[in-house]
């Protein structure tokens, strides 16, 4: 064999090797194969385990595409926009839902329900959770089913409240009073002899600041949009709410204007802060001796009231079927199975708050998760973030100004006026396209 021929063969082999992965692209057999895009984290893990169970029960093969939270949205959006049909089911965080629904890239589930003789999802689902899955909100067509039922809770130290003769705060005024008392009295009360801060919040720009602010904003009577759909965050109520947040910040550990969930969690677990608004996902860590210095001392209550009753922000994980899914029918079978009472109990055991009332009320689960009654109450009374496809951009701008006000860079009035203007521009820009 000549050298040249050897070279030619080598190149041919190389090219063939490069082409091999393409063979995998052949279409899977219909009905036997579904692909799932999930969040890597406790929510996705539960669904992943459920998928494995489903595979062994039915023989349907389930591919899992797992992405970190920060990438999941962009992966799904790009794929759905390109109509590639790569996923048959997608997990989505509820604030993303209006974007997907308004782009018309999700399958209307009511048709699939009808084919099975049902006219709507059963009433066991918590109403506020199902409302998130409809577009427009609450009233429109059904494009998803709720899988994980998170909503905010008010975390506080039962032992410190008893010690200082304080009651579970029903109003934000009571929160300030309690925060003041604890900050002043507990100057050496923390494990290790440090100070206990009365309150801890997160005011890092973006999602963190907005999530901690919304319950205060709503309780003070603020609304993000007026009746004509124009931004109204700089209303008298809105400015008063932000001033209150800054006031509360005086009892928060210094630097809270850059805190995210992990810093808030660390302060609570280390016993260096007494109250906060937080999400149920943190509850289990308080009982973990490796992480927690406050075992058995935390209580989980309802969001305090202001002028209006206290309402938590809802944050559910939904599951939807893309419009271009290759196996919508098989995907829907799995979706119904995964959100059934039986399976949601499994998911609850794996650490996810359910979206079904019967699961929240299940005696076995309540024994394991004593905060379930409080969680159900919070969820049923919760409010969603404003339902707009522009939410990511609005939340970003709003969060920047909230963070600036909390770090002392802007006054509450200036921050709200500038935020309002920025939100107005975002909406105007979207309207002109």
């Amino acid at each position: 064999m000549t050298t040249r021929r050897i070279k030619t063969i080598a190149v041919a082999v190389l090219l063939l090797a490069l082409g091999l992965p393409l063979l995998n692209c052949s279409r899977p057999q219909p009905g036997k194969n579904i692909t799932l895009a999930i969040n890597s984290g406790v929510e996705g893990d539960a669904l992943k385990q459920a998928a494995r169970d489903y595979e062994s029960q039915t023989g349907v093969h389930i591919n899992i595409a797992e992405f970190p939270y920060a990438n999941l949205f962009e992966k799904e959006l790009i794929d759905l926009n390109a109509h590639s049909g790569a996923y048959d089911l997608i997990m989505l965080d509820d604030p993303w839902f209006p974007k997907f629904a308004s782009l018309d890239v999700l399958t209307d589930l009511s048709l699939l329900l009808k084919r099975r003789g049902l006219d709507k999802p059963d009433d066991d689902f918590v109403a506020t959770s199902i409302a998130l899955c409809r577009h427009p909100y609450q009233t429109g067509a059904l494009y998803a089913l709720p899988y994980v039922g998170n909503s905010q809770l008010f975390f506080y130290r039962r032992d410190l409240f008893q010690k200082h003769n304080l009651k579970e705060p029903a109003t934000w005024d009571a929160v300030i009073t309690a925060a003041k008392t604890i900050s002043e009295q507990e100057t050496t009360g923390a494990p290790g002899g440090g100070k206990i801060y009365g309150y801890v919040m997160r005011a890092a720009q973006g999602n963190a600041a907005v999530a901690d602010f919304m319950p205060i904003f709503w309780a003070f009577g603020g609304e993000m949009f007026d009746n004509s759909g124009q931004p109204a965050v700089n209303s008298a109520e809105g400015i008063a709410a932000l001033k209150f947040m800054i006031e509360l910040g005086k009892y928060s550990p210094p630097g809270y204007a850059s805190f995210n969930a992990d810093e808030v969690g660390a302060h609570l677990l280390q016993g260096t802060a007494a109250m906060s608004i937080n999400w149920p996902a943190w509850i289990s860590s308080f009982g973990d001796p490796l992480k927690s210095k406050v075992i058995g001392k935390m209580e989980f209550g309802q969001l305090p009231a202001g002028k209006n009753p206290g309402r938590a922000e809802i944050g559910n994980w939904l599951i939807a079927i893309p419009r271009d899914a290759r196996n919508a029918d098989a995907a829907f079978e799995f979706l119904l199975w995964a959100t059934s009472t039986e399976q949601m109990k499994m998911s609850a055991q794996r650490g996810n708050p359910p979206t079904r009332k019967s699961v929240f009320n299940d005696p076995q689960l309540v024994a394991k998760f004593p905060s379930y009654p409080a969680q159900l109450r919070s969820l049923e009374g919760s409010r969603p973030r404003p339902r707009t496809p522009l939410w990511n951009e609005i939340e970003n701008a709003f969060g920047i100004y909230l963070s600036k006000a909390n770090s002392g860079e802007l006054s509450a009035e200036d921050a709200m006026n500038q935020a309002n203007e920025e939100i107005r521009k975002i909406i105007a820009r979207a309207g002109s396209k």
Binding site: L77, G206, G255, K404, S407, R429
Partner: protein, 285 residues
């Protein structure tokens, strides 16, 4: 027959590379030019570029990028040059020092971000913990959370990681300088400073320009460790252009506007790089 196939052969070998280049570089470049000139609905527009001038977020991100790049570059260069001069001499255990100095550079920027984030944590961090031991009141030293200190904090992390890079290039430059000019200077009775000013510096110039050029390009597109350390905050205090572009593209899914901003960044980087290269060529000519 023989002749044609041997002529074709190089092209066959090149083909995969060209295909990859076309698919992964050229096509995306053309595509990004296209989307920067379109509305989200696909109509042709110059709106994305027009919006830049009135976008406060863009303008302040641009400002932050320049502040960040110029301060970090100055400090990295000053320390890098000092270290290179120091370790170019017969210091004891200089081999050990040299290898130790390179460690930060080998860490992924994300890891550096996480380490600094933990160190700078106002309540539990090593830095404030140490300061407290020495009796400093750390109550107001909330590094990454203070609009005043946050920029200094992210710059410090960059300086820590990338000074070794400047040091490495300058050290290589120093070691390439022949002994003869120094001997001549010695004979002429020049002082230490004069030798440095008139012998070392001019001969080191090519290495200096290369170091500054590479660092400037990197600094202008900084992303990873700011994203981890402050995510652009508090408020907007450390948001650089790359972060804002990322947010616009992948959070707000406005790819056209993000592409337009990327081209502005590319243009600025090119202009500055061209300046450095001209400096280099002027010396060679």
């Amino acid at each position: 027959m023989q002749l044609t196939s041997s002529r074709l052969f190089p092209y066959v070998l090149l083909a995969p590379t060209i295909a990859v280049l076309l698919a992964l570089s050229i096509y995306p470049l053309i595509y990004s030019v296209k989307i920067s000139l379109q509305t989200e609905a696909g109509r042709a527009t110059l709106g994305n570029f027009a919006r830049l001038a009135g976008d406060q977020f863009f303008l302040s991100a641009l400002g932050h990028t320049f502040v960040y790049a110029s301060i970090a570059l100055t400090i990295e260069f000053a320390i890098g040059l000092g270290l290179a001069l120091l370790l170019d001499t017969q210091v004891r255990a200089r081999g050990l020092f040299r290898s130790l100095l390179l460690v930060p550079m080998m860490l992924p920027p994300v890891v550096v971000g996480v380490v600094w984030r933990l160190m700078l944590n106002a309540n539990f961090g090593a830095l404030n913990g140490t300061l407290k031991r020495f009796g400093v009141n750390t109550e107001s030293l909330t590094w990454t959370a203070s609009p005043k200190l946050a920029m200094a904090s992210v710059i410090a992390a960059d300086v820590w990681q990338w000074t070794p890079f400047v040091f490495l290039i300058l050290l290589a430059g120093l070691q390439a300088i022949p002994q003869e000019p120094y001997e001549a200077a010695l004979i002429d009775g020049s002082s230490g400073w004069q030798t440095f000013r008139h012998v070392t510096l001019p001969l080191l110039m090519p290495a200096i320009v290369i170091a500054l050029l590479l660092r400037t390009m990197d600094l202008l597109r900084v992303f990873d460790h700011i994203f981890i350390l402050t995510e652009g905050g508090p408020g907007f205090a450390t948001e650089t252009l790359s972060l804002y572009i990322y947010r616009t593209a992948f959070r707000f899914s406005n790819f056209g506007y993000a592409a337009a901003m990327s081209f502005v960044l590319l243009l600025l980087t090119n202009v500055i790089s061209a300046g450095y290269l001209r400096l280099l060529q002027a010396r060679e000519a």
